[in-house]
Amino acid sequence: MATIKGNFFQHIWAYIFLAILSLAVIFPLLIAVSQSLSTNQAVNRWPPEIIPAEPTLENMQLVLTQQDLRLDIWLRNSLIAATGYTIAVLLVCSPAAYAFARLRFPGNRVLFAFLLVTIMIPSQVTLIPNYLLMRDLKWLDTFAALIVPGAANVFGVFLLRQFFQQIPQELEEAAVLDGAGFFGRFWHVVLPLSTNALTALGIFVFLGHYNDLFWPFIVTNSLETRTLPVGLAILNSSYAGQFRPMVLSGAVLSVVPILIVYVIFQRRIIRGVMLTGMAGR
């Protein structure tokens, strides 16, 4: 067995490569933070100031207190929409996954194969018809438009089905002897044993929705429903030229909640991604 020291020199190229790569990941973020703390004049100086000479929180404040461009309200909207969407996906997909995983019914395999085929269809095909449906239902500019249309998440069904199939059948049989019906078996036996998969899917779905741009961009048009990515896009197109520190403040502040979630759940997130990636393969 090689000692740690021996290993260190043996794998020095790995350290060097990973250190450079990590720097390349972190450096742009540091520059963004630095520029968001600079004044409008300072960012248009050459050479650029890597560390702001006169740091100010003015731009962070600006992006939270304007009339129409309010990062705090966008954040609230994003959290409402992403939380609602995550709950909807879990509620809609887990019973479907249970049916596919455990129940015998005519059409089980055919229906499941059909769902898998539809994964191949890019979601943009559905954009225009769904947009027109939102308009006809008067759902434009409501949270329903951000939550309901994507709730039938095929990937979620696929992932949960894989997981439910691994739960030993005997556990359910024990519940049957105690008098549980199909719903009881699902709710009291299978779901509590699947918290790992449910959390992984939940985090995945939440982050995906929190960062989505195209659909929220076309179905929202007021401050009351606009989500963060939409707000950032508008902030950028309205102010990019002159007010770069303010725009960057928006970008930096929008990343903070994600980083908090990431720091708390990093193990789960990374394990969840690997789990979902393997399932997808």
Partner: protein, 305 residues
Amino acid sequence: MSTMNASTPKQRRLIPLKQQEALAAYLFLTPFLIIFGIFVVRAVFAAVEMSFYDWQILRPARPFIGLGNYEELLNDSVWWTALGNTVKFTAMTVVGTTLLSLSAAIAVTQPIKGQSLFRVILYMPTLFSVGAVGLIWVWLLSTQYGVINYGLSLIGLPTINWLGDPNMVLASLSLTTIWWGFGFPMLIFIAGLQGIPEQLYEAARIDGAAGWQIFYKITLPLLRPTILFVTVTGVISHFQVYGQPFIMTNGGPGRSSYTVIFYLYQVAWTAFRMGYGASVAVALAIIMAVLTTIQFVFINRRVEY
């Protein structure tokens, strides 16, 4: 009631167990199937149908024009520009992402200290929204005041007009996208590498195989399913690129960073031509289905050997 049924199986049931089970299954599936039926199945058929009409949102008359939209598409130079840009962007991004994420995964799976810290750092950008990533990179790549050009000038290299040069802009968007997204395939590759039995490497080392031989003879062949997954999902997701040009260049300079989805947005929500937009979306779906099939056939054939 159900307790009685369950504890006395001989007792006659109103509905036979098999049918009870099927009934329960359909009830479990109902919410999913309703939403899926309306927002996926119906929408796909509606899109195909709409693509046969001259359907403009502001005009009440919607004449059936058969394949008219598709004929227009074939002669639409903007469409071809957008498609060409998308293909170039996707090729650069998928190749770059796959190489970088595989290298990172191999480095991270060496027996080194700080593995999980490196994983956490390298995966981080994937969690950011395209809005945040786009805004951060627009300024890094700024020709006049950008930090990257400053770095180039420090080491005596000429500065580059990253987002303003029509021949450079797709590469710049691709660079941004690789930075943003290589963490996901990296984790998939790590999982794939961990699945290769250690004995294979030990046997190869005993046989005196060199490092690069081990890589070509063991790692690469056994990773083939993972590479297939990473490239197929990469092509699918990058072909749908939209946010980066939308935020960073607005399709410019000129139309040199128009992509298919960017153009779809222009057609449907700027020009309000829903029928023509639907034909753009359907054409995209067909192209992506063909691309995915080619990738599967190509990589499967090589697995047979």
